[in-house]
Amino acid sequence: MELKRMLGNPRWVAYGIILLVLLFVPYLLPTFDLMLFEYGLTFGIVGLGFNLLLGYTGLLSFGHGAYFAAGAYAVAMMGKYLPQAYAMEILIPAALLFSLLVSILFGFLCVRHTKIFFSILALSLSMLLFALLFKLYHLTGGSDGLRVAIPTMFGMAFKGVRRPVFLTGTYYYFLLAMFVLSFLIMRGIVSSPFGKALQAIRDNEVRAELIGIRVRRYRLYAFCISGMYAGLGGALWSFVNGHVTADLSHWVFSGEIVYMTLLGGFGFLEGPIIGAMIFTYLKLYAMGNTEYWMFVIGATLIILVLLLPNGVSGAAAALWTRIRRGRKAEEVSC
């Protein structure tokens, strides 16, 4: 019953085609590009969760790196202290749990405020985690960070397999599965009654409270869900990167997450994913071509905010509307 409706809907058809293409990506891209693509996918997951908080609930956090780092460090620290449990089936839930705990703790403090206060608090708390990760070097490796080895996956061991081989093979499909799952879940959340409640809170906090929605509580829920998505992204990212450092919790890194979401457009579910992909390539291109890559990124961000405030997806949607309107006008006049 669901399937039939989906097949008729052009959106799901498009998703299906994209999924099909994604399945063949390892055969289409060389190793280095594939790894880059995987970075993009992990950030896509982060962006999906981040946008639940920003686009749908109306809260802008410049501190989401903290939850990304929580997930990444959960993996790395398990590798260091619990090597016997270093299996993907355990690592992913651990990362989700750890990032959930951190988001509950930080989120509880943050959601009591809005706007500027909220943003500053979220930012500052992530820097608290950064400082802890940085200073407690006995535990966390400090500025050197921690190594992330290849885990076992569902019973499969990868002894002696070099990382690029792992990443372009089994891992890619695991990552893809996680990505698709995250996307489907977020899709469900956003169109559910809960999603409507979040949007109501975003649009009119007072009215939402006065129709019986417990605003603070729901903001916290959104915060935690987005935190877990960031943690999942962080964990998956750590396998690709092979290494985690404290600056994953630095607010400038969080700023990149915000940048990606804006770049893609936070009015659409798919926006942040597009933004994540573009940003990953943009940053690499800038870093590869100039030592002043921050200048490039900063300048493009400013231009973007001024010219395309709705991001790439927003601009595309606007263009599409204009084309349709133009066509309709033509039909009428002819």
Binding site: L54, L60, F62, L109, R112, H113, K115, I116, F117, S119, I120, L121, L123, S124, L125, M127, L128, A131, L132, K135, L136, W251, V252, G255, V258, Y259, L262, E291, Y292, W293, M294, F295, I297, G298, A299, L301, I302, V305, L306, P309
Partner: protein, 288 residues
């Protein structure tokens, strides 16, 4: 020992006060949180260091201290440019865009600093060395720190006078209290906003310049002060000048004593205190 810790705390609080005062003036008058505020601190630091290096062998001692003002000036000039270009574009936009634009400015400015002064550290400790040490209540203490505290007190007093007694200052306060009313009263919001931004950025630059004799100018020097300034603003209240003072003292002294007792605890302790204050008073100590 307590004397030293307290004085260290006051010294740190002084620099922090200048920085957060600047942040709060911009926040209060323009309603904008400038994420690039730390970059102005850095600009002040590099400019101050560079100036001192240029003149240290040729100039008489007092000039060295005056030259630190160059940091204040350059930060103000860059602030003026930024306000006229970027901030103008932000007025009609929502908070998200403001934060993103200032974030973009941060990235831009950090690399601009690198372009202008290179990636090396700039050492300019002459003003610090020249003043030597003094004895206070049985402990030996660098005189330069006392100079910084004194300068900050002066600046604080001047700003207080400016805000409270001059026409310009009162107009700025009016805008921060109620922007719409202020427009209705015929105040030139755009000129006054520029003034606020230049003043706020200049203060950050001054703080950066003042710290230079004690530490080299390094890339990213503005990052940590920015975070502390945020904490001060959160604890003291958005846009409150009194809050900046009390908050800076609180943060400065906590930090100083925290580091002395157990270095790792410094930041968590600070956050704990800030957290408690926020739970009791969600708007900060003097917030609206």
């Amino acid at each position: 020992m307590w004397v030293i810790y307290t004085l260290n705390g006051l010294y740190f609080a002084a620099l922090l006060f200048l920085t957060s005062l600047g942040l709060n003036i911009i926040l209060g008058v323009m309603g904008i949180l400038n994420l690039a505020h730390g970059s102005f601190y850095a600009i002040g630091a590099f400019m101050g260091a560079w100036t001192i290096i240029q003149i240290v062998t040729k100039a008489p001692a007092p000039l060295l201290y005056v030259s630190l003002l160059s940091g204040f000036l350059l930060a103000g000039i860059v602030g003026w440019i930024m306000e006229k270009t970027l901030i103008r574009a932000m007025y009609k936009r929502t908070l998200e865009y403001q934060l993103l634009l200032t974030f973009g400015a941060l990235l831009l400015l950090e690399d601009l600093i690198k372009m202008v002064w290179g990636g090396q550290a700039l050492y300019a400790s002459a003003p610090f060395d020249r003043l030597g040490k003094v004895e206070i209540m049985g402990s030996v203490y660098p005189a330069y720190f006392l100079l910084v505290i004194a300068i900050t007190l002066c600046v604080g007093f001047l700003i207080w006078l400016f805000m409270g007694k001059t026409r310009l200052g009162i107009m700025l306060r009016a805008i921060s209290l109620d922007r719409e009313m202020a427009t209705g009263l015929g105040l030139d919001i755009s000129r006054l906003s520029t003034l606020a931004f230049v003043l706020g950025s200049g203060l950050a630059g001054l703080a950066g310049a003042l710290v230079i004799p004690t530490t080299p100018a390094l890339l990213g020097i503005g990052m940590e002060p920015l975070i502390f300034a945020f904490i001060v603003v959160v604890v003291g209240g958005l846009g409150s000048l009194k809050g900046a003072l009390v908050g800076a003292l609180l943060v400065g002294l906590t930090r100083s004593f925290g580091i002395a007792i157990f270095p790792e605890i410094e930041l968590p302790l600070l956050f704990l205190i800030a957290g408690i204050i926020l739970v009791a008073k969600p708007q900060g100590l003097f917030g609206r």
